[in-house]
Structures are given as C-alpha cells and as structure tokens.
C-alpha cells in the first residue's frame, strides 16, 4: 500500500488552476522528488497536502486514511511533518526549544500541570530535552543547542527546521526546497542528511530546484508543469524524457 496517495487533486485560485487533476502515490521508505519550473505548483501542492490550503476538489490519503479536510495539526498527529521554503523557525526561542516544540506530539503535559510543575512534568521535561538533543545531534547541530535562533545563519536555520520536524518522529517528511540558498558544502551535507533520514525509515517527499541533488538521492521523480503532471519515473527516465527536456531541463 502506498504511504501517501493523491487522487484527482485540484486547486483553483479564482480562474487560475494552480493544480489540476493531479494523481500520484508515494510508496514507503523512499525519496520522492517533485520538480518543475517556477510557478508549476510545487509549494501549492505541499500546502494542499498539509491543508494549509483547502483543495478545490480531489482527495488525499495517508496510510489509507483520508486526510483531505483535516486541520494541519491533525495531519501532523498522523505522522506527516514538513519544512518550509520561506523559513518558519521560531525566532523568539533558542535552538533546543525550537526542537522541543517538535516533540509536542510525543509529550502530553497540559497548561495546569505545567503551571503547577507536577513531578510528571519535571520527568517529561527531561525526557523531551533528551529527544530534542538526539534530533539536533542527528542534524549536526548539537553545538548550537543553547543559541538563540534569531541570530543564526541561514544554513543553520534550514537544518534546524529539519531537526524540529524529525523530533516529531514523522513517517512522511515534506521538504520544501531545502537546498535553496545553500552553498556547495552545505548542499553536500544536506544530501547526506536526507539519505540518513531515508535510511532511518522516514519517507521523504522533496520539492527542489537543485537537479544534481534531486537526481542523486531520489528513487522517483515527478515533474509538474502548469499544475499538471508532466512525467513520473526514475531519475534516469526523467533525464531522458523529451517532454521534460523541452519543458524544463533543456531550457536551463
């Protein structure tokens, strides 16, 4: 069974069809990339999958359960997490606290228990800190744990978003242009990080413009053009597909 299944998805903004009649499915434990020229609807697709936008029609299934109209926090509870193209780091917190927010779903103390700081809260707090630290270590950020997120360089913040998502132990991680704005060294590190994420059993759905990164780490590549599916296949098939070359790769 596919982990994520999209059926006849459509999103209209007024007269513009940002996504039209899009169907695809993502199997478990792989890196599945979505590419396409600017404005092809890639980020819109991510926003539909996480219901930040509501689809005009069509449906989305995660592990066989329909999630089309679930609010984002419920989608997150089912095991989907994401990073953002325009960073959404909590700049008012430090690095470890950002990642501790990622552990929200794996802990449960409420407001009153927290205000009274019951023994259960103290125990959980220790546990959450440990989980968050593991996620930071996984992303190579442990040296930054106590730094305020506000002043950190862009590349670090990008990794921090990944660490925060991983802390929620998702089954599916949506990454929206993780390599944008990174230099070559950082991109190489990112490539290794995505491979390790995939090896740990998490399915990665990747939107990315950096073709060498996409071709190196993806098992399947899906090409979007004007909101429609243009082609789907292995990186080799996509690179040889004449329509894709005409629409996208050849023009570069």
């Amino acid at each position: 069974m596919a982990l994520l299944e999209v059926k006849n998805l459509e999103k209209r903004f007024g007269g513009l069809k940002a996504i039209s009649d899009l169907s695809f499915s993502v199997p478990e434990k792989m890196v599945f990339s979505i590419i396409g020229p600017n404005g092809a609807g890639k980020t819109t697709l991510f926003n539909l999958l996480t219901n930040i936008y509501t689809p005009s029609s069509g449906s989305i299934f995660f592990k066989g359960q329909e999630i089309t109209n679930l609010p984002p926090f419920k989608i997150a509870r089912l095991g989907i997490s994401r990073t953002f193209q325009n960073l959404q780091v909590f700049l008012n917190m430090n690095v470890i606290e950002n990642v501790m927010v990622g552990c929200h779903l794996r802990s449960k103390s409420g407001l009153i228990a927290s205000a009274l700081r019951l023994p259960s809260v103290i125990a959980e707090e220790k546990n959450v800190k440990q989980m968050a630290f593991e996620a930071l270590e996984f992303c190579g950020l442990s040296d930054y744990a106590d730094r305020p997120a506000g002043g950190l360089p862009y590349g670090i913040l990008k990794k921090l978003e990944v660490a925060r998502s991983l802390a929620s132990k998702p089954e599916l991680l949506l990454m929206d242009e993780p390599a944008a704005g990174l230099n070559d060294t950082e991109t190489a590190e990112l490539c290794q990080l995505i491979k390790r994420i995939c090896d740990s059993g998490i399915t990665v759905l990747l939107v990315e413009h950096n073709m060498s990164l996409v071709m190196e780490i993806s098992q399947t590549v899906l090409v979007l053009n004007y909101g429609k599916l243009l082609a789907e296949g292995t990186p080799e098939e996509i690179q040889r597909n004449p329509e894709v070359i005409a629409a996208y790769l050849g023009e570069g």
Partner: protein, 318 residues
C-alpha cells in the same frame, strides 16, 4: 533550584519588607496596589508576551471578578470565598465562549475586538445601576477571613496579596519553561509551523486566554474586598492600556519584565507627586525615553546587557 533562584530572592525581599518597615506607607499601602498590578501584568503577559495575542480588554475580567464579589456578597449575602469562586466560574465561562471567535482575529483586529470587550463591560458597570450601583459603585463589602483570621489590616492584606502575587509569578515562570509554554511561544513565532508540529493553535490560545482571565478575576475579587469598594473607574479602558504599558515597558515575554513594569508604573505616580502639576508630563516623558532607548523593555534589556558583560568577562579570562 537554579531555575528559581531569581524567584526565591524576589519572594524573600517581598516577605521581609513589611517586617522591617511595618508602618511604611510605600510598603503596606502602595505595596498592595503594586501587588494587584503585578498579578494583572503577569497574567496579561501570558497572553501577550508568551502567546503574542494582544488584549486591550484585560481590565474587564479584573472588573468582573471585583463586581461579582461585591454584588454576590452584599446583595445576595454569599460567603466571600464562594462569591469569589462564582465570579471566577463566570469569568472562565465568559472568556471561554468569547475566546474562539475573538482569537481567530490577528493584529489590529484582535486589538479592536478586545478593546470592544473592555468598553462593553465598562459601560455595563456604569449603566446597569440596579445591579452595579452605576457610576457610584458599591461599597461596604464584608471582611474577608482566612481560617478564622479576619483580614482587616493593611499588613494582613499585604501578606494575602503578596502570596497570590508570588503564586502568579511562580505559575508564569513554570509555564514559560514547559511544554505548554513552548506551545505558546510557537504560536507567537509562527502559527503555521506550530500547527505543523501538531499544536492545536486555536485551543492553546483559548486556554491561555481563559487562564489569564481567571487570574485577573481572582485579583479583582481580592481587590474589591481590600478596597471595600468597587466603582467603574477602576476597570476602564485606560486601565487596560496601562496594563499593556506595564508589560511592554518591562519586556514583552518576560515574567520579571511584567513584574518590573508593573512596579514602575505603580510607583512612579507616587514618586512624581513632588512635581505636582508636571507629574503627568514627566511620567509620559520617562515612558517615552525608556521605549526609545530600550525597545525590548527595561528588564529584558538590562538582563541582556548583564549577560553580555558576563560573557565578555569570561572570554577575557580565557
């Protein structure tokens, strides 16, 4: 215990002061006002500083607590503690019902809606004179007694209000450093990202709104008994603005920032009395100067400066 060292120091000072200066006007009279303001500023900071949701109507919940106590004890002869509880229950219900529609709004719109709430409640206090006594208010509340001990002097009130104030500060500090507090900060930082981390942002905002209103309501009941009198003046729109100023002045998002802000705004008018007619002018000028030069707030700015100084010294000694 390092986490609470600041709190323990603060609590010790507060509890020792009336023992050293039992008859000092600033301790046992002005002190009571300061405590009430600290409780209100700290509770407002939970909503404004932590969760980033502005409220220009916080005085309304303070007032509803006060009037509930006055009306229920005087007109219906209810036990003061039961009246306080009933007022709190009413405020919790009201704030919960209002929270969902109001907190869907953001920025200026949220400010407008909470402002409206504050004004409506104030008009109610003034106009519903059969119930509230109108502009004259209600006086003659029964004495509050605790475990058979009547709270009938300024010094006794000092300890009662001080205890509740310290409890509020402790709750606020605990929340900051917890899963619930991080969820609030996440809502403040990025609501979309908070949702993607599984936080039900509407629920989190609603809960802190209710919690903050509850703290204000109990402060209101205590205030009513301590003053022995309630009138609409104490709960006007201007007082809500003053509370916002306290929180911003001390440093948004910092519990001790709210404490310092409340302290300064309560003590300044007393100190500036020597300037007579120019009191208000100087008061305004001080606020402006602080906000221009220390926009992150007095307490937060000073804390950062001390931290930077200590870090610099550590570098130097290496």
């Amino acid at each position: 215990m390092k986490r609470l060292s600041g709190f323990i120091l603060f609590a010790t000072i507060c509890l020792i002061l009336p023992i050293i200066f039992p008859d000092n006007y600033y301790v046992t009279v002005v002190g009571l006002t300061i405590f009430i303001n600290i409780i209100l500023a700290v509770s407002l900071n939970l909503l404004m500083g932590y969760a980033g949701q502005i409220s220009l109507g916080h005085a309304a919940f303070f007032g509803l607590g006060a009037y509930s106590s006055a009306i229920l004890t005087i007109k219906y002869g209810l036990n003061p503690w039961l009246a306080m509880l009933a007022g709190a229950a009413f405020v919790v219900t009201l704030s919960y019902v209002l929270s969902r529609p109001i907190l869907k709004l953001k920025g200026h719109y949220l400010a407008m809606a909470t402002l409206g709430l504050g004004i409506i409640v104030h008009i109610f206090f003034v106009q519903a004179d059969e119930l509230t006594g109108g502009p004259d208010g209600i006086s003659g509340l029964p004495t509050l007694s605790f475990l058979g001990l009547a709270i009938d002097s300024d010094v006794k009130w000092y300890f009662v209000l001080c205890s509740y104030m310290l409890l509020s500060v402790l709750f606020s500090l605990n929340i900051a450093d917890s899963r619930a507090g991080r969820a609030l900060s996440a809502v403040h930082g990025s609501e979309i990202a908070a949702q993607m981390m599984g936080i039900n942002t509407a629920k989190v905002k609603s809960h802190i709104f209710v919690f903050s209103a509850l703290m204000a309501s109990i402060a209101g009941s205590l205030f009513a008994h301590q003053q022995d009198f309630v009138s609409p003046e104490s709960f006007s729109f201007f007082f809500s603005i003053e509370l916002v100023t306290m929180v911003v002045l001390g440093g948004l998002g910092s519990t001790f920032g709210a404490v310092i802000g409340a302290f300064i705004l309560s003590i300044l008018p007393e100190v500036l009395i020597v300037f007579e007619d120019f009191e208000v002018l100087i008061f305004g000028a001080i606020l402006m100067v602080i906000m221009i030069f220390l926009p992150e707030g007095l307490f937060v700015a000073l804390k950062n400066k001390v931290a930077a100084f200590l870090a610099g010294r550590q570098e130097g000694s290496k």
